[in-house]
Symmetry: C2
Subunit: 340 residues, 2 copies
Amino acid sequence: MRGAILYGPRDVRFEERPDPKIIEPTDAILKLSATCVCGSDLWPYRGIDAPAYPTPMGHEYCGIVEEVGSAVRNIKPGQFVVGSFFASDNTCPICQAGYQSRCVDARLMGAEGAQAPWLRVPLADGTLVATPDIPSDDLIPSLLATSDVFGTGWFAADAADVQPGKTVVVVGDGAVGLCGVIAARQMGAERIIMMSHHETRQKLALEFGATDIVTERGDKGVARIKDMTDGLGAHSVIEAVGTQEAMMQSIRSTRPGGHIGFVGVSHGVQLPGEELFFAEVHLLGGPAPVRRYLPELIDLVWKRQVNPGKVFDLTLPLDQVAEAYRAMDERRAIKALLRP
Amino acid sequence: MRGAILYGPRDVRFEERPDPKIIEPTDAILKLSATCVCGSDLWPYRGIDAPAYPTPMGHEYCGIVEEVGSAVRNIKPGQFVVGSFFASDNTCPICQAGYQSRCVDARLMGAEGAQAPWLRVPLADGTLVATPDIPSDDLIPSLLATSDVFGTGWFAADAADVQPGKTVVVVGDGAVGLCGVIAARQMGAERIIMMSHHETRQKLALEFGATDIVTERGDKGVARIKDMTDGLGAHSVIEAVGTQEAMMQSIRSTRPGGHIGFVGVSHGVQLPGEELFFAEVHLLGGPAPVRRYLPELIDLVWKRQVNPGKVFDLTLPLDQVAEAYRAMDERRAIKALLRP
């Protein structure tokens, strides 16, 4: 088959790769219905956290089960399934506590390279969740979104303890932040303030349920949030960027006793202990345990109560994966869906 | 009156100070039954975070109400009261959410200098909690402990989400860490592991309910905790030191999805964002909102269900306050109680 391979900074190629096959008896092979480029793929694409080149890319996926290993019990060929960007056994104590992204046997799906027509999924029974039936085509983007960005935005809102009637700030107007707006809305937040200075992203945030847009950043952004919250700060803040500025903006926008859910993959961040101590905020973040939320999120999508697939504002055939990266890198697209 | 004044590093004197008097109508004046030296007093005593010298010292107190301002409604002269090291109105949204140490009108009691026979307490109705009656003398140390160290240890255990049947690690064998052991025991933890290499502190930890002692520190300490928890780490970690080593030891000793309550006043700590992100632990810390817990903790002491006063292993008359600092600085005493 042919799939996406990163050869170096800004050098993604669509090239011949070995067809995936069952290696462990707990594996499944999927024929992908859709895959996509993640905001986090842009870090290595830009040469930051550079992997050993060349490296296959992609970790978001949904599709039809083609084949399963001899130890797979629950996942069957022919099912339509979604999985997280971490494979997990879903049985260890960490998984059972709901932190499947830190499963004792967690496997990074990025290593399998999901920007391809076929994908090996390890630990299939613990990782994959089947939809009630084969979905209609228009549901595919939203089902694909549950695999990462919607699941991650949902975790961020959950980690930020979003509650009915409360005020939520979203730092980061990428696909994850936008999905955080959907999550906050579903969780009953009264006020959802999106920090954004991109018009198309602002529009989508409002469509997803944001009540306010703040265009200022950094200290000015913090001052605006304080102004809007009687000087106290927000109850909940979703951080979906991963930079020092975004983290500090999040900490300073949260009221004492409030909660921050941070899901932007941290890059070069150092949190000053004194400030964090006196801020007295709850902090929880990391790679989202999407598997915990998949059944609930698939159900919301299936019933058409949410439409996170709208974050895909560019759809391309898989063989144009290089253009998908370029469009996201240049912020011409929020998120690009790829059709194998 | 005479009270403790810090003139410079390791230079505490017992000197004439103005008698406190009602300044604001919400004030109360207490005749203190006991006061003490806090581990956090040792930072300025050692010249770290040096204040403008000379400065009055002390922020832990209990005693009899002598006089109240014209706006005080609930606190009455003649009552025995305990208050936190932060005065708070207990009515603002932050107080109502349980974070009185970050009250919008919070006042540091250290500014009043509680190592003295008399003390002005601002916002008396919001700050002070009266005991059911005048306590017998043997209850005074434990009631004094609720003012800070027991309240802080309790908050740390609460912030670390200590649950029945779970494993708790306590980093820091000072009075706060030891009180964290009492709290963890009261909250039903199954296993309470105290990190300590001081024999007297180990003994007290075991008496308070610790089930295990780990003498190793840093990476070796972390490795021991992992060994004791099937390689996973503890569910809950109480950090009661405030240094980089203690914070990193705490983060690395916590299982993914676990909770850290950090109450050691942070000094020179920088938390690496990447490690915190992938650790995927809950973090909450800061100056303990002791006022939230005071009614419950006073009740536990009153019923003699707990005896946090045992952390005071040295009692001196107030005029020997300089020796109290020396004994704690040289680790000859865990915590020194002072009798005016």
